[in-house]
Amino acid sequence: MKKSNEMTIGEAARALRARALSVRELWEETVSVAQEKNKELNAYLEFFEPEETEITAAQKRLDEEGSEAPLLTGIPLAVKDNILIKGKIASSASRMLANYRASYTATVIKKLREANALFLGRTNMDEFAMGSSTETSAFGVTKNPHDVSRVPGGSSGGSAVAVSAHMALAALGSDTGGSIRQPASLNGIVGLKPTYGAVSRYGLMAMGSSLDQIGPLAKSVDDAEILFRAIAGRDPHDATSLPPNLYPAHPVPQKMRIGVPRDLIEEGVSDDVRTRFEETLAALARAGHTVVDITLPTSAYALPVYYVIMPAEASTNLARFDGMRYGFSKRGSTLRDDYILSRSEGFGEEVKRRILLGTFVLSSGYIDAYYRKAAAARSLLAREYNEAFQKVDVIAVPTSPSPAFRFGEKGDPVSMYVEDIFTVTANLTGMPAISVPMKKVVREGTPLPVGIQYTALHQAENVLFALGRITESVLE
């Protein structure tokens, strides 16, 4: 039998129900491996104390309910450091919140607790989810387990590594512009950005409120679906959360029509990544699915649009950190000094850069040229996608233009931002998108994972899971 920490959620759930494995054995083996590997990888910022009461409760539920118990009962999960669990530190990997203990619990955590899932610890991330490499964390970088000289992607790099290196069975991340899907791609796992509003944001530290979503990082598409179904749903605490059928239902077609905007991937994508992408499409075509060329002209502007809207929202959201009520605090001679000193010493460089950018695009004289134009372009982008989905069921692109890069390789901000070029569109349109592993590429003798991203219409996660499973199958 596989080591329990290496199992998928589905495999562990079956072993637990067959009594081939106990909840305690699963917890202890996963914690033991995670703590050992964490010395090198730094995926976790903190391991939580053993959840004795919760372990006992999960085992009792399995014993009493057997196959009727939720699939997540007794499953150890990792949680990104920007999701609140009351009484536990949630720092967003920032000096600003290094000692902040959450005063309430996120809805996703509450839902997972109702399923008797277990929480191993909080995972490293880019500070306030601002980054694509986990290098902006105030608490050290996380290393990619496929090559420790390379980044794990970001911002949910810690969660992705925890899953990829079998330091958790699955994990929660958050995705504002690709922060689940890009690290999933770079670590060879599955990552889903749900439809905006499909999952409650209550208890998620806000970065870009119109863009943020919590979602799963998992070892398989099946696992991603299990975790997504457990956390999804309308929440009275989040006015932007969706009722179940706000958008029309999307039956899964037997044969998928896969739209490919080839003009977007002609430049800027590594040759080997493009080759893997074409091979994956060819395998899907051989399985009877149709690949259709499409054009999405406004998509070429998606990244600049995103880098206007996101910093505008982030600078507004981060205005709450002023050293008064919680978080890092430094005192000067005036109240204004208190604000400035607390913010200037509490925030890292990338966070400050984005706050300044957001302040600029919202400032008088520039708001029309930047923010309002970007907001209008965002509407046009959504319309183009909706029109494209009249001809196809999903839209496919590589998740990121290249495999994991080396630490420090992307020194200037724009080259780092370009990492998000294929992922930001789903956040701007609010549509769901999933990254599924393709076959690996080789860099300097080391095989490195890369992913394919599928986007579908709002609330059509079922279509994404179906095509994700097909992709896993045709690439086996």
């Binding site: 005063s103 006015a239 406004t298 206007v308 002023d322 009520r325 134009k373 046009l380 724009v414």
Partner: protein
């Protein structure tokens, strides 16, 4: 602002954002800012159709009724524990209005 020749625009933005940027960091930041603005300024070349009526989104941010408030002081302890400076449940801040 698109091509800041001095550090003054960055310093002004920092003031607006309640941040202070060390003098030694300003030239690098100004250069990075210039590069980022050049990138996002691509949206200037995007021509947008004039729409008679903006589309009404399916998802709208409808606020819930302000009902069922938590009992008084139910969360006070959870919230006030993190106050950097406090006296009991009171948040201490510097006096900003003089009696003189």
């Amino acid at each position: 602002m698109k091509n800041p020749k001095t550090n003054a625009p960055i310093e002004h933005l920092a003031t607006l954002a309640s941040l202070s940027i060390p003098a030694g960091r300003l030239p690098t930041l100004a250069k990075e800012f210039e590069s980022i603005l050049a990138y996002v300024s691509q949206i200037e070349s995007l021509s947008l159709p004039r729409e008679a009526t903006p589309p009404i989104p399916a998802l709208r941010n409808v606020l819930r009724e302000d009902a069922d408030p938590a009992p008084a002081r139910a969360h006070t302890k959870d919230i006030t524990y993190a106050f950097p400076e406090k006296k009991g449940d009171a948040l201490m801040v510097k006096k900003i209005i003089s009696n003189d």
